[in-house]
Amino acid sequence: MDFKMKKRLFRIILSFLFMILSMLLTFSFVIQDILYILAYIIVGYDIVLKAIRNILRGKVFDENFLMTIATIGAFCIGEFPEAVAVMLFYQVGELFQSYAVDKSRKSVAALMNIRPDYANVYHGEEIEKIDPDEVNIGEIILIKPGEKIPLDGTVVEGMSMLNTLALTGESIPRSVNIGDEVLSGSINNEGVLKVRVEKKFGDSTVSKILDLVENASSRKSKSENFISKFAKYYTPIVVVIALLLAFIPPLIFSDTTFKTWVYRALSFLVVSCPCALVISIPLSFFGGIGATSKIGVLVKGSNYLEALANTEIIVCDKTGTLTEGIFKVQKINAIGYSNEDLLRYVSYAEAFSNHPIALSIKNAYGKDINESLVTKVKEIKGKGVIAKVDDKQVVVGNEKLMEEYNITFKKSKDIGTIVYIAINKKFAGTITIADKIKEDAYKAIRSFKDNNVKKTVMLTGDREEISKKVAKELKLDAYYAELLPQEKVEKVEELMTQKSQTGKLVFIGDGINDAPVLALSDIGVAMGGLGSDAAIEAADVVIMTDEPSKIANAIKISKKTMIIVKENIVFAITVKILVLLLSAIGLATMWAAVFADVGVSVIAIINALRILRVKNEE
């Protein structure tokens, strides 16, 4: 509680004591009334002052003004305790509301607790602790175990494991060595690191992420716009009805008093403020965006979070999104040799080659290559390599190379790139190299379905047979292969017409060359946002890791957010209308009206905060 809140609390308690005292001193009406007025002034003077100031500026539908009119009206018709109570409860509600908002501000801030407080900068031999904002590019900083990395940079000394949980939602630590890039916001788990700063704090990853999350609430959702509109009409309408209620019925019905209807009208004024809605809806979205950031998904606006809940079609790029985008040895089919021996011969033959296929084969072999055993290497562009390994002639390449060397070989039916091998002019088998489907992609497609996504589609520029296999493996609903970038745009345009009116199309890509499709789809998602500025710029939603399944989690959070938003809208409007009706026919007192005003706000805020409790499914 800050000073302002404490002051308010003190006034509430003092006013409450005066009110009790007044109720006890039943022997003198004058003393009672004086005490009531004192209690009222103590608790409500600031509201009355603000009301006067606002009326001078022509703001009649301001909540301070409405409360003042309601309470002063109550004094005028002789309902002294009522007047004090309404003001008192209004202040209690306000106190509670500011407490809850403050609390939620803090808990969202804690979710995003990645802002580093200081950097240890080397000035010669001396180390100085300074604000990350003041560190320049090229300076050397020291990061001790347990500290946050304050700025993006490159490791120049030391090695360690980094915890990137707060950035990516990924709990497995990442190992870093000299020469590796480190990102601000990650936490140094063990070793001492010396890092050369590569980016100013304002351009560092941590600033970018914080900026994104903080600005997200400025892109308003449809629900928020609805509430703003509702608030604009609701208050004037209620106030006008209150006026009519005070003056018309007493003129029509002869058997009632003017006072009864004024009392009812005053209750109307108390309920006329749409606070609960105006505060709880943006708060829910804010909480939802906080919750998605926690799992490593940055949503760039409340509007996108709202749209995610209605995801109907998910379109994925293949390479890099559903597959790893790295070519790996998938299968070795040795004839006359063991698989290990064959892999060794091929790796040796490819020892001096930097071709992607050669690299993936050497990667699969994984051992050091004794280059002195490799002689007479001849690389034939577009076909393969010939070399002498252990005094044996090894021919490694495609079908054409085999034909050229008159080697009889069996065509492989595997899908991917096939490498044929002949040793001493005899066919020795094949190695199949292909891009691998991400483990996470299986989970992603399954959880999309669990979250009511109607259609999953894959778009790719890759060959038909490879695409078909991937689509079948992942159980996708549709795939389109051998597409040129322009054709991808056309396909997405076509898919956009297939969704229902409220349904949304989500496109997930790796953020490279996807800009037109990202812009075209309802929600463009870029993957592997960490460290890639282009992806962060172009997309509406950024997944910080390379796991497409995170979008399923984000959809789940967005659905929960929307449920809470709807609950709050329905609850607040229902209670208000109910109390309005009841007070119109005289069944609800001003006390009930105060509850409908502040009680509903508080309950709606507490409900909104539930969204922060959504956990990452792991």
């Binding site: 909540e63 400025s218 105006v278 505060i279």
Partner: protein, 74 residues
Amino acid sequence: MKKYKFKIKGLDCAICANELENTLQKIDQLESVSISFITEKLTFECEEENKEEVLLKIRKVIRKEEPDVIIEEV
């Protein structure tokens, strides 16, 4: 066009924030102004050379509409 970010303190309620935002939108030279009650942030875009003038106008509006509110550059 450049983006500026200010801390905005002393707003009573979300409605006041919305109303202030609407009033600020009427300032010429000011693009995409937004007030977030929850994060207590005022963000706006304007041409760099107009910044001081725009800021003066913003302060004037705030003084008139919400005298208790203060803004600070972050």
